[in-house]
Amino acid sequence: MSLPEIDLGAGADARLEPADRLRRRSPWSRAAGRFSTDRAAVTGLVVVTVFFVVALGVWLGWWGGNWAETGGGQWQSPSAENWLGTTILGQDIFARAVYSTRTAFEIGLVVAISSTLLGGLFGAISGYFAHSPVDAAILWLKGVLDSIPFYLFVAAVAFALDGQPFAMHIAMIATFWTTTARLVRGEVIKLKRLEFVEAARSVGLATPRIIARHIVPNTFHILLVQATIVFVAAIKSEVILSFLGLGVQDGVSWGLMIAESTTEVIAGRYWNFIAASSFMFVLVMGFNLFADGLQDALDPKRAGR
């Protein structure tokens, strides 16, 4: 169905031009403008990008591949060969910390993307059908998952899945989607009362199409911010879960390195601990600054608060 064309006569093009320029300046490009003036946020983005390149390099086999080699001496101090010293088995701590960057991004991306998709889907459905039995069921599931203590839930999932390497990811996804769903639900309840949704309904669009094409795209700013927050939460939880023996099963991660260091620090051997915790701190700090800037840029009301 196309709108009837209106002949605006001569000069129509000239009159259209400013409107065209206005259209190009979408909310997203205005948000990008706000973001680029936020120094802390840009710093955060640079830090995250650097870590992402490091992770990508590990994945492509450019560096960090020697993390398991046991060549060096035991508990060596930092030297030209082993920049951050060696572990009890003579492994290079710097290589292990670099390789762990890949592990962190794997966990962060898998958990952030999956739980955001799940939260967006359930949030949109329960918001669009607010106060229906479907909504009640989704709210109930959220309430239930929020009431089970997180570490117990992860431990239980890990044991139920019997040592599956993805037990930790599944448990995190199952618990982290609830916040996203709550925020999306609130936004969708607001959106569905607006005129453009009413218009879509009145021209007879099917409900799934309205939700997918007209409502969900308008919640992208929430999904984006939530994804960055979940990414940070996933990396931080990995450390604690790996310490408890429920986290990364094979390979190496910052959590495993810190868990390994718990007995070493008492004996005054700090390099494993320092390497893993500072790598992690810089990445998480960068991500937090980035997420803050993103939130301010996408929500002008919040800026300066």
Partner: protein
């Protein structure tokens, strides 16, 4: 009377939540959890011995029978005896819960009080260097892993300075309590402050930009009066909500890490050991009681709302 009706209606409303929590955790922790049959048997057991142990543990019953037995346990608050030690579950909880409470209470109170104080300070100086310094500190606090803070404080106070014990819990009077509780408290306050300060500041800034605060300032009211009566009291509802809802998670999840790390025999450590060994009676008790605790907190929360804001009605659904 109004309160009684309200509490009863809320308790009834909490039943689906408790059923959901118990059903999911029962399925995960008990039905798919570790099988203890062979740990309780001698070597080379006969088929009859295996069958006998399985029936003692209830493994031979169908799923729904075992689940409804659990619900009966929960209603009567009688969870029987631990499979691992043979001790009464009620006795285990009576021994470990007070330890966890004593361990966590100082950090919980300090973390929230200091968080509100710093949030007020930052909100009052919004945009100034005090605000920026506090918020910078908060982001740093949010970016450090709890485990890293625990290890760093343990090394600093226990090894380098040697002021406090590295681990353990041997409390019999006030001085020994302070001796063992200080390092875990410092660690949990440090971690809680990052998130708390940011949250409280956001809530307080929201309140501080309202007209009545501007008017009070214009009339020259003292900052302390504005902050206390104009801002803090009006921001009480989100503050109470956050504090109340963090209680059950702190008790189990927070205590789990601290107790495991410092080797303190509290409820978190007992529960974690129960998961890894498949000690079902203990697990059932902790998970079920946590769910009930959540429902009770929801109710207390709504009553506190009414107490801080008398306009809220307990009988209307929109208020609850």
């Amino acid at each position: 009377m109004e309160y009684l009706v309200f509490v009863i209606r809320k308790l009834a409303g909490g039943i689906p939540l408790v059923l959901g929590v118990t059903l999911i955790s029962f399925t995960l922790m008990v039905y798919f959890g570790p099988d203890q049959t062979y740990e309780l048997l001698s070597k080379n057991p006969t088929a009859e011995e295996i069958a006998q142990v399985r029936s003692e543990l209830g493994y031979d019953q169908p799923f729904w029978i075992r689940y409804s037995d659990y619900l009966v346990d929960l209603v009567t608050l009688d969870f029987g005896y631990s499979n691992a030690t043979g001790e009464r579950v009620a006795g285990i909880l009576a021994r470990t819960v007070p330890i966890s409470m004593a361990l966590l209470a100082p950090g919980f109170v300090l973390g929230n009080v200091l968080g509100i104080a710093l949030g007020l300070l930052a909100a009052w100086h919004r945009g100034g260097w005090v605000d920026k310094a506090i918020m910078g500190f908060a982001v740093v606090g949010m970016s450090i892993s709890f485990l890293v803070v625990i290890i760093a404080f343990q090394v600093l106070f226990g090894v380098v300075l040697d002021w406090f014990p590295v681990r353990g819990w041997n409390v019999h009077d006030l001085s020994s309590y302070l001796y063992y509780v200080t390092v875990p408290t410092l660690a949990s306050v440090f971690v809680a402050l990052g998130y708390n300060t940011r949250f409280f500041r956001a809530v307080l800034v929201e309140e501080m930009t309202r007209d009545h605060v501007r008017t009070a300032r214009a009339f020259g009211a003292a900052p302390a009066v504005i902050l206390w009566r104009g801002v803090l009291m009006n921001a009480m509802i989100p503050i109470i909500t956050r504090i109340m809802f963090s209680i059950p998670l702190i008790v189990i999840s927070g205590s789990l890490l601290i107790e495991t790390y410092f080797g303190i025999p509290g409820v978190g450590k007992v529960t974690f050991d129960a998961i890894t060994s498949g000690d079902q009676p203990v697990l059932k008790a902790v998970v079920g009681l946590t769910a009930i605790g959540f429902v009770l907190i929801l109710i207390t929360n709504d009553i506190l709302y009414k107490w801080v804001d008398p306009r809220i009605s307990l009988t209307r659904e929109s208020a609850a």
